[in-house]
């Protein structure tokens, strides 16, 4: 890896091992390492860096470069230290005249086919080939220029600059391959390649995509993306950056480094995209971000990344970003840029005015799952301590609120039970309603690695996602259910396990409530839950389902991973409880390799829930009706807290339409695009008298806003994010906020404009307040995070180091609780007018509403939302691939292009919601989860028909949006 800034970040050469201790000497120094460790790594542990080119500690040793040869006493020859395991008593010499001579000779050969461009090369100062030439003391190159890969014209030039100066115009060297610039973020320059295969191996071992290969043999060997005619863009490459990271030279190089130069400083921080929470090293020159490099000590990602976190940060400096506060009296006026003071006074006066006129409960807040824990905490505190009501909600409402409810009810905590490392010990993965290769790519890579090691996977999803079948992955069972029948499928699996006696009785007796289990067993054993009885309803063949259930119950460590395909249904909470039942039935909670694991969508959706964003819960999932909990906050905050739960997002919008809810402070969330039934959301927003949008961009919601407060990106503030494994990761200020204030400061300014009198000077003080008031965070502080890197809550007196695994000695709530899961069909039904079922999801390159990724080159992979439709359904309607189609439900209609694909089941269509031009949520309905109001995004009855282009609604909407985004020049 190209690590050159943090000294202890050196590459140990080969991966760590875990065998019994073995003691050897390296150059006379004694060192003890686990059996199976390579001599190279042992030497590195002893402080001796053996020269190397083809080895790196995130991929298995390969032994091709022959630079790392050593001498071992009593052994013949000069073995490669990377492929030689240590042995007891071994005596290794890393520097002898013999190995020095070999290394020099090898280096000389490498350099004989490498351009001597160092001074003008993008990797200058960050090149392992250069380092190794220095390390082996190469002083001369005896070979005459001959056949080579670097001289484009075949006229004996040694450097590209020289070649340009002496160009003859025609490429006289058939072995020269020009640069491949097709990927927007990095280049592939074969003329600098030393064919060490690190990129190919990283693509296979780390990322699991297998997009790269070495073509040809001998001197003709070249790295090739895809087949002969492919470039990087047309290959299977997912642009995760693992190959760029692995490349020891400038062959695979970030375009940003080519343009800006090698970075001179770095800051460790946490990615702000999905719930995996990857640690990154932000590398900069001054305050200019040069690149984001995955940090190998990050406990969630272990040095891996995806195209979003690695490359898609350009939105932070995009021209669309709003840097000055703006206000307007009504939403049909253009925006007026004003000072922070004026904007905050305007907002505070309006909000206070609304409360005076319409009552204390007429205003509220929406917290953001994209912002830090500290910022979220302050926003909900604003509702509770400044507005004096509980009108706070968060976007988790529309994604994982059923997880919080369902797991809270059954296990006693509203979070996943494992850490990501747990997957390394899983034998059977059950994946329900999640598509990690697109939505949680870094975790998907780890899952795929485990699958390649022999674990099996059962996929429950209406689409044939990549984990059903893609290179080196083949699901043991794919239960392609009809959308909306999750509960029936999960219950049928439980039915098979109970009726065939496959449950873990001892586990259930010891850890769960036996009486409740017996009630549940009686319920689930009823024939109406059998796979045969539900086959017609779910579309899943009974035999396949039985086989899947048997595999899960008997195949070893069984882990359930699920996503929004579980929660975003009218029975989302029921499915979560059904999943918990399955895990308890089979004894799969409380150790490594098992568990119930929600794949959280947003970087801090876990944190936003933890921080008391919900209208009925104070931080730490404690109900506002609980007087003891209110007392804690009343004492710290010095105000009385309303004991009545406040409004959820849908209730706020309903109340707004009815005229009782008038003002909203919405931080970092675009409810107009992300929430279901767009027209209803728009009507609600339009009815409010003060909408304060606090965001990076004039998002769709801002079309209905009166105050716009510019936000700061994750690069511009300190704080913490909590990922899907409850891991609290530090976010560090990489550069100063370009808008002037970090988001927590803006919230504080607004609160103070309303008379709050807060005086936090650093987010660590907010975390201290959280720790002092919330038992599960009691042991968390910035000092602890600095020391440990990250901790997983609960972190308190009982668990000072945090809790990677939950429910180890018993469930948090005492006894695990089985809850009966009766299947109730959704009210959203297909019929003659709307015969197809629409389900929605994400794609790898875009993120959520796309506010960030659409403003990066990621759009080169996905520039519009497409409607995936099965060939049969398409043919029936005369629809061809790429045609405009109209997608209509009883809520509304929109137009987009069709993509005919047999990944879909017949009768089901699919689209993403990344682009506001499409507004897929115009189609989705107001139905929601019975327990939590989580919207039923995943099931909408629709019809698809021909169309000539955008619908009237889309055109009206775009016109209105354009009108609403006008900004007047700032008053002088």
């Amino acid at each position: 890896m190209k690590d050159f800034i943090i000294p202890d970040d050196r590459d140990m050469g080969t991966p760590a091992r875990t065998g019994a201790p073995v003691t050897l000497t390296v150059d006379g120094f004694e060192i003890t390492v686990p059996a199976g460790t390579s001599v190279m790594r042992a030497a590195a542990e002893a402080g001796m860096q053996i020269p190397k080119l083809c080895a790196s500690d995130n991929i298995e040793a390969y032994g091709s470069c022959r630079l790392c040869v050593v001498e071992i006493e009593g052994r013949r020859g000069t073995p490669a230290s990377c492929t030689t395991p240590v042995a007891e008593g071994m005596a290794v010499r890393t520097q002898t005249p013999r190995v020095r001579k070999i290394r020099k000779g090898v280096m000389e050969l490498y350099i004989s086919d490498h351009p001597l461009d160092c001074l003008t090369c993008a990797a200058n100062g960050d090149c392992e080939l250069q380092d190794m030439a220095g390390a082996v003391g190469l002083r001369d190159m005896r070979y005459e220029p001959g056949v080579n890969h670097y001289d484009p014209f075949g006229i004996g030039t040694l450097a590209q600059g020289d070649a340009r100066a002496r160009t003859t115009g025609d490429l006289g060297n058939p072995a020269y391959i020009p640069k491949d610039d097709s990927n927007p973020y990095f280049t592939y320059d074969p003329s600098k390649c030393i064919v060490c295969s690190r990129c190919v191996r990283a693509c296979e071992e780390v990322q699991g995509t297998f997009a790269l290969t070495i073509e040809g043999r001998g001197f003709d060997s070249r790295v090739s993306a895809g087949a002969a005619l492919d470039d990087f863009m047309s290959s299977d490459c997912v642009s995760c950056g693992a190959c760029v990271q692995a490349c020891p030279t400038a062959t695979l190089q970030e375009k940003s480094v080519i343009e800006l130069g090698t970075p001179e400083r770095s800051v460790i921080t946490t990615c702000a995209y999905c719930g995996v929470g990857c640690s990154f090293k932000a590398e900069l020159n001054g305050d200019e971000l040069v690149r984001m490099v995955p940090w190998k000590h990050g406990k969630a990602n272990h040095g891996h990344s995806c195209v979003k976190g690695r490359f898609a940060y350009g939105y932070a400096s995009h021209k669309d970003r709003i840097l000055n506060p703006m206000i307007r009296d009504s939403v049909d006026e253009p925006w007026q840029e004003v000072s922070w003071d004026e904007a905050l006074t305007f907002a505070a006066d309006r909000m206070r005015g609304l409360q005076a006129k319409y009552g204390q409960k007429s205003i509220g807040v929406i917290t953001s799952s994209r912002c830090t824990n500290e910022e979220t905490y302050l926003v909900q505190k604003m509702a509770r301590a400044v507005f004096r009501n509980n009108n706070t909600d968060t976007c988790a409402r529309v994604c994982h609120s059923p997880t919080g409810y369902g797991l809270g009810q059954t296990f006693g905590t509203s979070a996943g039970t494992q850490d990501f490392d747990s997957i390394e010990e899983t034998d059977v993965v059950v994946l329900i309603g999640a598509n990690p290769t697109d939505a949680h790519p870094v975790f998907a890579s780890r899952m795929k690695k485990r699958l390649r090691e022999g674990a099996r996977i059962i996929v429950i999803d209406p689409r044939r996602i990549d984990l059903v079948r893609s290179a080196h992955v083949e699901a043991a069972h794919h239960l392609a259910l009809r959308p909306g029948t999750n509960v029936a499928v999960v219950s049928a699996m439980a039915h098979v396990i109970v009726t065939e006696g496959l449950m873990d009785q001892d586990y259930i007796r010891e850890r769960c409530d036996w009486d409740e289990f017996q009630d549940y067993a009686e319920f689930i054993s009823d024939a109406r839950h059998s796979p045969e009885a539900t086959e017609e309803l779910t579309g899943v063949p009974a035999e396949e389902l039985r086989a899947a259930a048997r595999l899960f119950a008997t195949g070893g460590n069984g882990a359930i991973y699920y996503g929004l395909g579980v929660t975003e249904h009218s029975q989302g909470s029921t499915t979560v409880m059904g999943i918990a039942n399955l895990a308890m039935l089979t004894g799969n909670v409380g150790r490594n390799g098992v568990g119930v694991n929600p794949l959280r969508g947003q970087n801090n959706v876990q944190g936003a829930c933890d921080m008391g964003s919900f209208p009925h819960e104070l931080p730490g999932y404690r109900h506002v009706k609980n007087e003891g909990v209110r007392d804690i906050y009343e004492e710290v905050w010095g105000v009385p807290i309303d004991p009545e739960p406040g409004l959820r997002i849908p209730n706020m919008l309903d109340a707004a339409v009815e005229g009782t809810f008038k003002g909203l402070y919405c931080q970092g969330e675009d409810i107009l695009q992300s929430d279901p039934d767009t027209k209803h959301v728009a009507a609600g927003l339009a009815a409010m008298e003060c909408v304060i949008v606090h965001d990076l961009f004039l998002n769709e919601t801002a079309n209905y806003a009166h105050v716009f407060l510019p936000g700061s990106t994750f690069l511009e503030k300190d704080g913490t994010f909590t990922n899907a494994e409850r891991r609290i990761n530090r976010v560090r200020e990489v550069m100063k906020p370009v808008n002037g204030y970090a988001d927590w400061e803006v919230t504080q300014l607004l609160a103070n404009a309303m008379g709050a009198g807060w005086n936090y000077t650093h987010p660590s003080q907010i975390m201290d307040e959280i720790a002092a008031t919330t038992p599960s965070f009691a042991g968390v502080s910035y000092d602890v995070l600095e020391e440990k890197g990250s901790v997983q809550w609960p972190c308190n007196e009982d668990n000072p180091d945090g809790t990677p695994l939950m429910h180890v000695d018993g469930f948090m709530r005492g006894k695990g609780r089985f809850i009966v899961t009766e299947y109730v069909a959704t009210d959203e039904k297909t019929g003659p007018r709307f015969p197809l079922l629409l389900t929605t999801g994400r794609i790898l390159s875009q993120y959520n509403v796309g506010a960030q990724t659409r403003r990066t080159a990621n759009s080169e992979w996905h520039d519009q939302d497409l409607l995936e439709i099965h060939p049969n359904d398409a043919e029936l309607r005369g629809i061809k691939d790429g045609q405009w189609v109209k997608l209509a439900s009883r809520s509304g209609e929109t137009s987009l292009r069709a993509m005919v694909s047999d990944r879909m089941s017949p009768g089901v269509v699919y689209t993403t919601f990344h682009h506001p031009d499409t507004q897929a949520n115009v189609i989705t309905t107001e139905f929601s989860d019975w327990a939590t109001n989580c919207p039923e995004y995943k099931v909408t009855a629709v019809q698809v028909s021909h169309s000539n282009g955008p619908t009237d609604w889309q055109e009206d909407y775009n016109a209105q949006a354009e009108q609403s985004r006008r900004i007047l020049p700032a008053a002088e």
């Binding site: 995509t209 297998f210 997009a211 790269l212 290969t213 070495i214 073509e215 040809g216 043999r217 090739s224 993306a225 895809g226 087949a227 002969a228 005619l229 492919d230 290959s235 299977d236 079948r469 893609s470 290179a471 080196h472 992955v473 083949e474």
Partner: protein, 158 residues
């Protein structure tokens, strides 16, 4: 120059792939099958082979390009392989090869304009005792000289 090869329908390629899918480690047998059937491995076969074996097109390409005998375009009706290994070279094989190439106006791997002969280098046919050696299609020929070579080319229609 190679002539444009007509596209081979996916269905025909698939039929050849399916024949060997049951084998253990079927990639090489499938590639051989394709070459035997179509005289080369068409570009459009690469993703199909990948899909059948659940591997990527890059992996198929990596294997295929490793072996010189797998062709991307069909060869001429006959393939003449002239040995260029040490023993044959020392017995005049190099001169004979140069002469033959010059006569036909081809470079290595080239095919005559009438499509009759493709000429390729080979490194040792195991016939060092009767060097210089060559191979015409599946038949090896030892003790080559100018006149035997002329006869070979004539018979092959070059």
């Amino acid at each position: 120059m190679q002539t444009q090869t007509p596209a081979i329908p996916d269905t025909e390629i698939q039929a050849v792939i399916d024949k060997d899918l049951h084998l253990e480690a079927p990639l090489l047998p499938i590639l051989h099958g394709l070459q035997a059937t179509f005289g080369h491995i068409p570009d459009n076969a690469i993703p199909l082979v990948g899909a059948a074996l659940n591997i990527t097109k890059a992996e198929v390409h990596g294997v295929m390009s490793f072996y010189h005998d797998f062709r991307k375009v069909p060869a001429g009706r006959h393939v003449l392989r002239i040995c260029r290994a040490e023993a044959c070279q020392s017995m005049g094989g190099k001169a004979l090869a140069d002469e033959t190439l010059k006569l036909l106006g081809l470079d290595w791997h080239g095919t005559t304009a009438n499509g009759a002969v493709t000429i390729e280098p080979v490194y040792c046919l195991g016939l060092c005792a009767c060097a210089p050696a060559a191979m015409v299609d599946d038949k090896v020929i030892g003790r080559l000289d100018k006149s035997r070579m002329d006869k070979i080319l004539q018979e092959a229609g070059a």
